[in-house]
C-alpha cells in the first residue's frame, strides 16, 4: 500500500469497534481496509492477513449478500487481542494449509465460496470454527445497524408500539 493511501486511511474516522474487508481487503501496515478506503480497521495483536481471513471466514459462515463487509469486520474485530492471537494464528494457519492442499495460495485467495465452504465443513467441529461461529450469532446479528437489512424494526415502545403502526396491516391474505 502506498504512503498516500495509508495517509488517506488515517484521515478517515476509523470505525471504533472494527473494520472491514476480507478477501476483498487491501492490506496495509497495521490496517485492513476496503478497496475504496471507505473504512478500515486497525489490527494490533493479529496480522492483516489473519484479520482479512477471519472476515472472509465470517462471511462464508453466515453469508448475507446485502450485508457489507464492515459489519462482518465489526463482528470479528474482537479477536484482535493478545489473548486471542494464538487461537487465531493456529486457526488461520489450518485454513490456509487446507487451501494449499487444494491447490490454492491461501484461504482468502480461493475464488469460489463453495470451495471455501468445503474447507470449513471439514473443520466445523473444531474449537476454532465453533468459537468464531458462536461469536457471530451475537457479533453479527445483534448489530442494530444490520436489522433494517432484514426488515426488523427493533425497539417499539418509544413509538407507542404498533397499535397505530401496522400490527395488523397484512393485505394479501
Amino acid at each position: 500500500m502506498s504512503e498516500a493511501r495509508t495517509k488517506g486511511l488515517t484521515r478517515r474516522a476509523l470505525l471504533s469497534r472494527a473494520v472491514a474487508a476480507g478477501a476483498l481487503a487491501v492490506t496495509g501496515v497495521g490496517f485492513v481496509a476496503a478497496p475504496d478506503a471507505a473504512w478500515a480497521v486497525q489490527v494490533t495483536a493479529i496480522s492483516e492477513h489473519q484479520m482479512a481471513t477471519l472476515l472472509q471466514m465470517a462471511r462464508d459462515i453466515y453469508p448475507h449478500d446485502r450485508i457489507g463487509d464492515r459489519y462482518y469486520a465489526i463482528a470479528v474485530k474482537g479477536y484482535d487481542t493478545p489473548e486471542s492471537a494464538a487461537m487465531v494464528a493456529e486457526g488461520i494457519a489450518a485454513l490456509d494449509a487446507a487451501a494449499q492442499a487444494a491447490g490454492h495460495a491461501d484461504y482468502v485467495s480461493m475464488g469460489w465460496e463453495a470451495d471455501r465452504v468445503a474447507i470449513l465443513r471439514d473443520m466445523q467441529d473444531g474449537a476454532f470454527f465453533q468459537t468464531v461461529r458462536g461469536g457471530l450469532v451475537t457479533g453479527l446479528y445483534n448489530q442494530k445497524e444490520v436489522w433494517p437489512i432484514f426488515g426488523y424494526e427493533g425497539e417499539s415502545f418509544s413509538q407507542g408500539g404498533y397499535i397505530d403502526r401496522g400490527f395488523d396491516d397484512i393485505d394479501w391474505l
Partner: protein, 524 residues
Amino acid sequence: MANAAKFELTDDSVVVIIGTGAGGGVLANELAQKGVKVVALEAGGRYLPEDYVNDEWDSFGQLAWTDPRTTSGDWRVAKDFGGLPAWIVKAVGGTTTHWAGASIRFQDHEWKALTTYGAVEGANLLDWPIDAAEMAPWYDLAEAKLGVTLTEGREGLPGNNNYKVFEAGAKALGYTEVHTGRMAINSADYDDRPACQQTGFCFQGCKWGAKWSSAYTDIPRGEATGNLEVRDHAHVARILHNDAGRVTGVEYFDRDGNLQFQAARIVAVAGNSFESPRLLLNSASDMFPDGLANSSGHVGRNYMRHTTGSVYGIFEKPVRMWRGTTMAGIMQDESRHDPARGFVGGYELETLALGLPFMAAFLDPGSWGREFTSALDQYEYMAGMWIVGEDMPQETNRVTLSDTVDRFGLRVANVNFSDHPNDVAMRNHAYERGQAMYRAMGATRTLPTPPYPSTHNLGTNRMSERPEDGVVNKWGQTHDIPNLFVSDGSQFTTGAAENPTLTIVALAIRQADHIAREMASGTL
C-alpha cells in the same frame, strides 16, 4: 413499598416463601391479604416496567437466570445450550416478567392422565390427586386475578399479522377452535393495568404493564398490606429442620454475600422445577440423607418441559410477525386425546414471533451457510408458531446435584432429559400439521425448528395421592414434612397440553387458602 413489612430474622412466626413468580409471588400476596406474615426471598433483583428493555439480548442479560446449570441426556438443548437448559427469569416476579401470557385451563381428562391414557411403556404416568371440579373455582379466581381475555366476558385481543396468517391457515385445513387466545394481557384497561399497545417484546417484560406479572401486581399489593417483606438478592442455600423433623427456617446469602438464617413457621419452596428440587437435595441432613421430603426418592424426578418445537413459514409477501402481541393466537383442535394419531395426549399450536437476534440464535442452532442464511434473509416474510404438548413423565428425566458449584459453593442443578417416543411422535405430528397450515397459505418454505431452552419447567416434586408416588400431597404439602410446601410448577403430576402459568396461579391461590386455614386452626 411504603408499608412493606420488616421482620426479624429470629421471627419464627412468619411463612418463608422462596421465589416470587407465578407460584411464590401469588402465594405471598394471597397470604398477606389474609393477614399472614410473610418473608419472601428472591434470588434476583427488582425490575419494573420502566426498567424493561425492548431488546432481546439486553433484556436477557437483565432478567434471565444465567447462574450455572449443567445438562445431560439426548435432548438437543444439551448440545446447543449446555449451560442454559431453561430460559427463565431471576428477578422479583420470576418468569411472570417473561411469560407470553397464555392462560388456559387443563382439560378435564388431563387431571387423570394415567386413567385416561392407560399405562405407557417407559413413562411414569400418574393421576393428579385433584380434578377439574376441585380446581374450577380456583381457576375462576386465577382468571379474574390475571384478567384473562375471552373469560368472564372479557374481549379477545385483536389479531396481529402473524395471527392472521395462522388463523387463515388453520381454517383452510378445517380447524375450528382458532382464536387470539385466553391471554393475561389486557384487551381493555383492567385492574389498574392498561390495554395492550401491540408493542411486541412480551418476552422482555411488558413495558406497559398490560400483561399480568406478579412483579407489579401481587408483590406490591402484598407489601401494601404491611404483612409481606420481599428480600431481593437473597439466594437460599439450605432449609433447616429440628429433631422432630419440622423445618425451622432457611439459610440464605444476602446481597452482600453474607449467610443469614431466617426462622420460619412454614417454608414454601417456589424456585421452579430446577431450583426447588436442587434446594431440597442440597438440604440433606443426617435425618434426611437423601434430601428433604425425599423419602420416596422422587425429588428431582419426572422432569417435564412440554413437547415443544416451532414452525416458521416463509411467504411471497411480507408478514412482519414481530409486530404486536408475541403469542396471541391458538389452535386447539389437536389438544384432544386421540390415540389414533399415534400418541397419547394432545398439543396446542400457538403463534410465536422472535426478533431477528433471537431468530438467528434459535432458528437452527449450530447451523450455518446458505441453507441457514437464506432463511434468515426472509425474516420479514416469515410467520411463526410454537408447539406446546403434553410430554411423558419419566423417572430418568430428572434434576440431580451437579459436581459444578455456583459462586456460593453450592452444587448446581444438572438437568437430564431425553424425549419419550410419545413425545417424538407428537412433535412430528405437530410439525406436519403446522407446516400444512402455512403451505395452505402459500408458504414457499417451511422450517420445523427444534425446541428452545425450556420455558415450561414442570414436575420434579410431583403431587401424588400416596407418599410413595411423589413428593407433595394435594395441597402441595410435602408428604414427609408437614410445614414444608412446594408452590411452583414442580408440583405438577403431569404436564397437560396447556401453558402452565394459570394452573400454577390457581394452585397457589388454593394453597394460600389452605395454609391460612390450617394456621388459624393451629394445625400448622
